[in-house]
Symmetry: C2
Subunit: 305 residues, 2 copies
Amino acid sequence: MWRHSELLRVLRARGDLWDVAPGVTGLRGETARLFAALERRIGELCLGETIDEWRVPPAIDFATLARADYFASLPQWLTLASHLSGREGVLLRVAEHPEPALAVRDAATPPIVALNPAVCYHVYAGLAGQILHAPRLVTAQAGCWRHEGARHGTLERGWAFTMREVVFVGNETDARAFLRCAAEQATQLAGGLGLDSAIAPATDPFFAPTARAKQLVQRLKELKHELLLPIGDGRTTAAASFNLHDTFFGEAFRIRLPDGRPATTACMAFGLERWTLAFLAAHGPDAARWPAFPALGELAEVSDV
Amino acid sequence: MWRHSELLRVLRARGDLWDVAPGVTGLRGETARLFAALERRIGELCLGETIDEWRVPPAIDFATLARADYFASLPQWLTLASHLSGREGVLLRVAEHPEPALAVRDAATPPIVALNPAVCYHVYAGLAGQILHAPRLVTAQAGCWRHEGARHGTLERGWAFTMREVVFVGNETDARAFLRCAAEQATQLAGGLGLDSAIAPATDPFFAPTARAKQLVQRLKELKHELLLPIGDGRTTAAASFNLHDTFFGEAFRIRLPDGRPATTACMAFGLERWTLAFLAAHGPDAARWPAFPALGELAEVSDV
């Protein structure tokens, strides 16, 4: 197992990663190839669950977030997108300002969308109002944004990061079976990549001061588990999570079973940068020493052409 | 060729596309599968050019944009990302507000990054200060954001959209050869998909009032071409562009040739949503009537499993 700081030092020194802001990271070279291989491998695993793959938008409307109680439960993570004013005078000030980075901050209009904090809200919104005659499994990958104050760490805890989710919508029995199977698949994936893993209970960091958040904590307790992977220095990262939401989203988005009861929802989510980090921590930054795995092998063939 | 409005009506009616804001679109069903197939096909074409694939960050710092003269030349397109204040009182107001969508607008801190307006600025920044002993070819795909006021159209002109670029950095002769080859490859790609295409000269819509923009227009004229694809109703969309930047970015980012002169840069950019729209306009929304192409065939096999 590599020391965390040493690993990042080596990757930065050879230009394989760089940050444009805390927690907003780019990848090049072997590290970019590894990320692409893991992205493909995890995508295949999730498509094996279902071929209903959506391409969700990169942002989400405030109405959907409000319906999901996001503002009350996790406001601290939100990142908003604002375009500039279309007024010529405002743009001219930006264009001609000696320090445009300062001027541009005053030129933005009030934000009208949030960048995705997760993928699954799009799925609940997409199924809103429906009566499900069969369980639904949807997969999607998207860039997500969660601001975590001063806690950002390169690859480990991104302000921007990449999430692949599988979302289940149906009855409670099937939801629990889905999550058992999901945790087993993620554990097998880790083993196949030569990574030690452990499944542990977890809770979302709901915004504590509100009564609403306390209700949510109470209601959702013991419904979240995480797959932990070592990243060196005795630390682990939550590289996947397995979440049972009871009928919370089924009620909020009026997704119902044929008997009229609200649907139960569950999801499995992978954080792709964290899998990349855990792989590098276990196997080191030198690609020649990496164990082969199917998606990596395919990419290697391409590079030989 | 399908009528544009009729095509979108059919796709919306069967749930294949939806907008969360003007120009911010999600895809499902056959349309999502088509997008994925085109994404893969275009990615293969670009990886054929080069295996130096970067995974650029989803946002870009203001210093890089200033260095690229972006604030002076195209400020009207900018979209900024802001996280919320970390102060508990501010978050509490959002969490408990009866209309959180209103409260959240006042809770955002000044933006510190812009969402990518294009992919290639990351490449110039990544090569800044280097002396190139051989030409560089880099490819990357990323979500991009350009706000175009009231001009947004679903798939045709997104506020958010997906760009795949190949960036060339080297000498002028090789840059021109790269662009000739790029335009030929894009034309062949269109033909292979059963799409009529035409290459036409174009100019970027530089922010007109500034003297700086006028200089840019003068300097960069006749250096941009676009591949136009029909989208019905007698209209076309610029589905790819081929751009020669002379030594503009070589100078700005101090990327030099071995003899000390600034490098010439050029890029080819594909707009994936526009290729999807042009394909649908030509072949209709019914997947059973689509012509096969390699990446689509591969996906079809997956769906048969």
